[in-house]
């Protein structure tokens, strides 16, 4: 059962699995609004949190796929416990990471051993070919120098592996004695900046039928209007997303927006509302210029929704 937190009328989804489930199983996309961890300084692809439109959140709650809760405040009573467990966790992490780093170093050295052995053999051969005993003395000296180099490095990150390979290639480190290496320095500890809350928390469920501070949409005519149209289109199998860019209420896709272009720009009008001609004309022109059909939607009193599509035909 997915849980979505709502605060000030905004529903945010913070878990990637939840986002996946919503999109794949339920056809509700939402919009990512946060920075993407891999590239936080670009705007073309954004990351978590996912912002759901109020209509999307309400639909999910209505069909029972999701529980809406009011965004919970951290409990001050739990704070000291949380702090203690965090410190413990960090210590544990540190130990584990040191162990893993040492392990990684060991395995790397083992891997390189064969290469080193090969390299040494080749070198020896070459030196013996060139000159006699003086060559083997030099090889012995370089081995010792290499052995001192290997324990000196402390870096735990795997990105150092390439650098190490170069070092191993140039000098020939011996399989060093049981490390005697310096432990992982505190500053090299890898830390996760959690996206979602790392601890479970209790929250109060939100009733979307009732107006509250966190859900001000209940009962508002505009919201009801948009929702009825959203629901109807969703039930017909379309994928909907916000259409602020195109001057409409929704963009209607025949399938997932990742692979399909939108076909319609849906504009919601209350039945009986007069539509100013200017709005019609501007909406029509906009639709034409982006190659989408304008869809005027109106829910009827009997519950059905009536659609009118507009296409600009130039009389020339």
């Amino acid at each position: 059962m997915l849980v979505v937190e709502v605060a000030n009328g905004r529903s945010l989804v913070w878990g990637a699995e939840a986002v996946q489930a919503l999109r794949e199983r339920l056809g509700v996309g939402g919009r990512t609004v946060g920075a993407l961890p891999r590239g936080p300084r670009q705007n073309s692809r954004l990351g978590l949190p996912l912002l759901l439109m109020p209509e999307e959140a309400r639909l999910l709650a209505e069909i029972g796929a999701v529980t809406l809760v009011s965004a919970p405040r951290p409990d001050p009573r739990q704070h000291s416990l949380a702090l203690a467990s965090f410190k413990r966790q960090q210590e544990q992490d540190f130990q584990e990471q040191s162990a893993l780093a040492a392990e990684a170093r060991e395995t790397r050295r083992q891997e390189l051993l064969e290469k080193i052995a090969e390299g040494q053999a080749a070198k020896k051969q070459r030196l013996e070919q060139e000159s006699g005993s003086s060559g083997s003395q030099e090889a012995g000296g370089s081995q010792e120098a290499g052995g001192n180099q290997a324990p000196a490095e402390n870096e735990a990150s795997a990105s150092q592996a390439s650098g190490e390979h170069e070092e191993a290639g140039s000098s020939s480190p011996q399989p060093g004695p049981s490390d005697g290496v310096a432990p992982l320095p505190r500053s090299a500890l890898l830390v996760q900046l959690a996206t979602a809350r790392p601890r479970p928390i209790k929250a109060r469920p939100l009733d979307w039928r009732v107006q509250s501070k966190d859900w001000p949409h209940a009962g508002r005519p505009l919201h009801e209007l948009r929702y009825s149209i959203y629901r109807d289109l969703w039930e017909r199998g379309f994928f909907l997303s916000a259409a602020g860019k195109f001057g409409g209420d929704f963009l209607v896709y025949p399938g997932d927006p990742l692979r399909f272009h939108a076909h319609y720009i849906a504009q919601c009008w209350a039945p009986g509302d007069p539509i100013p001609l200017q709005d019609l004309v501007s909406a029509g022109r906009l639709g034409t210029s982006v190659k989408k059909t304008l869809l005027l939607c109106s829910p009827q009193p009997d519950g059905k929704v009536v659609y009118t599509s507009l296409q600009w035909a130039s009389l020339q």
Partner: protein
């Protein structure tokens, strides 16, 4: 409205194990291309389409599921202060300090939106009551209705990701329409947008030709240059060097003023500019139709960056002067005086408590001649001399003429009075009263 009793458990987000943390370091840093081929028109249930969709989706989930992993040593520790509404840095700031944050009482601080943006970028670790905050908790705590709303933060982060330097808006820096009408101080204020955002200046290698244009029409030129002088304000070093981390906007709509703004570097070595400035201010005085009176100075000296070797606002890159200003056989060149800075002892003097108190005492009674508003009105040395002369005259004219300028007459000559009472009576110091006479 009573709270519902049933409590729903919100599951925790993903916490990476140590192994996963190490593995995260070796993941690719490049963003994969968005779609696999052009988009299709209609879903036709084909396997190929489904496969492409699956691939796109996989990529998306993978990207979204990645967690931020950073080395503890590269994170700046910061603490959120809810009562005060800002974030205080606990360890020294990194490169972001050049464009974000503010310093108060010697401590480095960040606004909530800046802190949140840096947290999302993975540059800082935000603590609240000693617990590090996740991004979700930070959004909840820092983005409230009274500090910064979610919508404002979205705008801020969008602009920052585009590469702009975004700062809080100061309403006092904008001229009112009336002031603008009077052209009271058309030059000394900045070109900031309504939203207080200021574009990053791109490279300082723009053409030297623009300087020549400015010389040809001095009035216009001075207006532009004085505008530009102010737009080059903090920090001046950014104008002369390009910070590679922020992407500068090349095709900027602010291109007009930006061009001459780079004249700043060249203006400093020009000796004759002060006269030019004085001359032009007189011209603009005429433009104002003789509206004289208390006028703010044309030059905002706090924002003109003179070469400065001190540590407060280091400005050591001196651009070459315009060749047309130099004599024929003299070549000007650009220097960077940074190497000299290293030879100076830049360490702050550590005064003992007593010395500090003494300094404070001395400062208290010292008057700064520049703090005098009348002196600030003077826009040239000539005017200042006139002011001094006026003051001198005033001082010398403060003696009343009837007391000081007439020949001295004694109030009483020795033969006129014979007793102290009559003397006093005569010079009217005291009126004699005769208490013995019935007391009326």
């Amino acid at each position: 409205m009573e709270p519902e009793p049933a409590e729903v458990e919100v599951p925790a987000g993903r916490v990476l194990s140590a192994r996963e943390l190490l593995a995260a370091r070796s993941r690719s840093q490049k963003l994969p291309p968005r779609s696999h081929g052009p988009k299709d028109f209609l879903p036709d249930g084909s396997v190929a389409q489904a496969e492409r969709l699956r691939q796109c989706r996989e990529e998306l989930w993978q990207l979204l599921a990645e967690e931020r992993v950073e080395r503890l040593g590269s994170l700046v520790a910061a603490e959120w202060r809810p009562e005060e509404g800002f974030v205080e840095l606990k360890s020294p700031a990194g490169k972001f300090w050049q464009t974000m944050g503010f310093a108060e009482q010697g401590r480095q601080r960040l606004h909530p939106e800046e802190a949140l943006y840096l947290l999302e970028c993975g540059s800082i670790q935000l603590f609240h009551q000693d617990l590090p905050l996740s991004i979700q908790e930070a959004y909840q705590l820092l983005l409230t209705e009274d500090t910064m709303t979610f919508l404002q933060y979205q705008v801020f982060s969008h602009l920052k990701r585009l590469g702009y330097v975004v700062r809080r808006f100061q309403p006092s820096s904008i001229l009112s329409p009336y002031e603008r009408q009077l052209n009271l101080d058309g030059s000394a204020l900045c070109l900031e947008d309504r939203n207080g955002k200021r574009k990053r200046r791109s490279s300082s290698s723009r053409s030297i030709n623009k300087k020549a244009k400015a010389l040809e029409n001095p009035l216009q030129g001075v207006d532009e240059t004085t505008e530009s002088l102010t737009t080059s304000s903090p920090p001046p070093c950014n104008q002369n060097s390009r910070c590679p981390e922020e992407k500068p906007q090349e095709s900027s709509p602010v291109k007009g003023p930006t061009g001459p703004s780079l004249l700043l570097g060249a203006l400093e070595p020009w000796p004759g500019l002060a006269n030019e400035g004085g001359g032009c201010s007189q011209q603009s005085g005429k433009v104002e139709n003789g509206v004289k009176g208390v006028r703010k100075p044309r030059w905002n000296f706090e924002q003109i960056s003179f070469p400065n070797m001190a540590s407060d606002s280091r400005h050591t890159l001196l651009l070459a002067p315009a060749p047309e200003l130099l004599p024929a056989n003299v070549a000007g060149r650009e220097t960077d005086a940074e190497s000299w800075c290293q030879k100076l002892n830049q360490r702050k003097e550590k005064l003992s408590r007593r010395e500090r108190e003494q300094q404070a005492e001395a400062q208290r009674f010292r008057e700064d001649v520049n703090a005098d508003p009348e002196v600030q009105c003077c826009s040239s040395w000539q005017e200042y001399k006139q002011l001094l002369q006026r003051r001198h005259l005033q001082k010398s004219q403060s003696r009343p003429a009837h007391l000081w300028d007439q020949p001295v007459h004694p109030l009483l000559s020795p033969g006129q009075a014979d007793s102290p009472a009559t003397v006093l009576q005569h010079i009217s110091v005291l009126q004699t009263t005769h208490l013995a006479d019935g007391g009326t």
